[in-house]
Structures are given as structure tokens and as C-alpha cells.
């Protein structure tokens, strides 16, 4: 992939937010939507772009699709590790999203029960 294209893929708020929350763990599409509060088709399309450009990979479990970061990029692009682990943390949504990710993880709910329990961060006591 060309550096310019890689940067273009990174130069979008929704995609940066996705990368931020899946950089250390795989999440299914529903979890990504729930944590970011973004729309289904919009989320899906950004995931598709990231996937098409091999920035993220995925595996399937039943109808669920779990996405995770392609760690080869960290090896191949020196700047990328600093970007996602240092600079990204200073960006607008980072704390908000990572906080939600942690609270979600602590809730012990997983992708299978996400819709069933009608998960809502506002009602989360944690």
C-alpha cells in the first residue's frame, strides 16, 4: 500500500476512532457501533475501507464479524506505532472511546448478548 493511501485511510475521524478501540483487541461490528455511537451502515463502510486496504483483518463467528488491527503495519511503518499509541491518545474522542471500551469490557457482556440486553452506557453503573 502506498504511504499516501495509508495516510488517507487514517485521516478520518470515524476510522481513527475505530482503529483506536480495536488496536489491542478484536471487536465485532455491533460492539464498535455501540462503543462509538455510530450508525450501522456508516460503521460498516468505514470498516470495509480499512479492510480493503489491509489496515484491519477480520474473522467470523456465526453471523458476527470481528475486526482487529493488522499488526504488520506497525512493523512496516515506523510512524504508525507512535501514532496509535501516543499521538492518537491526545485526540478529541480518544479518552471518551477508550473509557467506554473499558466499561464495556468490565460489564462482561460480549458481542452475543449485546443487542439482547439493550446495552446502554448511560445506565451502566460502572
Amino acid at each position: 500500500m502506498k504511504l499516501q493511501l495509508f495516510l488517507k485511510m487514517l485521516a478520518d475521524e470515524n476510522r481513527l476512532r475505530i482503529i483506536n478501540i480495536i488496536k489491542d483487541n478484536a471487536l465485532c461490528v455491533g460492539e464498535i457501533q455501540t462503543i462509538l455511537g455510530t450508525q450501522q451502515s456508516n460503521t460498516s463502510k468505514h470498516l470495509d475501507k480499512l479492510k480493503s486496504n489491509q489496515i484491519i483483518n477480520y474473522y467470523k463467528e456465526a453471523q458476527r464479524v470481528f475486526y482487529f488491527l493488522n499488526k504488520d503495519l506497525v512493523k512496516n511503518y515506523k510512524f504508525f506505532e507512535d501514532l496509535i499509541y501516543t499521538d492518537l491518545s491526545k485526540s478529541h474522542y480518544s479518552n471518551f472511546d477508550l473509557d467506554r471500551l473499558i466499561r464495556y469490557k468490565n460489564s462482561k457482556i460480549d458481542c452475543d448478548y449485546l443487542k439482547e440486553v439493550n446495552f446502554d452506557f448511560e445506565q451502566l453503573k460502572i
Copy 2:
């Protein structure tokens, strides 16, 4: 400046090429055009974008405008140094442009005499 906007400014081939050749020295607009082989108004507009977002700064000498990289970005964005000094060098135009930059510098021609001598890399013996 927002990280997303910074990345967007970097996610363009012409702007990456500009940054690459002015990262260690200031160049006037005419020199940038000559080395990259890009059009006047196009070059000027990309410079304007980079300038408006404080990615580059400038100083004037008579009608000439010299642009140079805003080094504060290297301090403020950890990823940026790796990007411009490591990853960028692997990109398509980098060798071509940096080679031209060196040949231009060796020619001892400067911005003042650039148009006067009708500078042409093809005729350069160096």
C-alpha cells in the same frame, strides 16, 4: 490542530513531496516547482494549505517566499519524525525528489538565478 486534519494534510502526494524536500532546508516556491516539476498555481495552493495549517512557515525576501517545515510538529507529534525521516523515504517519489534536491544544491544556483538560467535537470551534468 486536530490530528485528523494534520493527517489529511499529509495524505496527498504533492504535499508529501513538498514536505520531503523542505524538511531540512527552506526553499522558495520556484525551487519547489523546479525540483518537483509541478505547476505553479497547484504548488502555490498546496503550500497555502500547509501554511494555513501551520505545517510549514515562511519568510520573505523581496518577492520570493521561502517555505520551511514547522519543526514544532516534530516535538508535538511523535509519529511525525518517523514519518518524514523513515517512512517517507520509502515512498515512490522520495529518491527521485531528494536526488534532484541534492543536484540542485550542488549546482550552486539559488532562487535568485533560477529562472534566469532556465534551469533544467536534464541538461545538468552533475
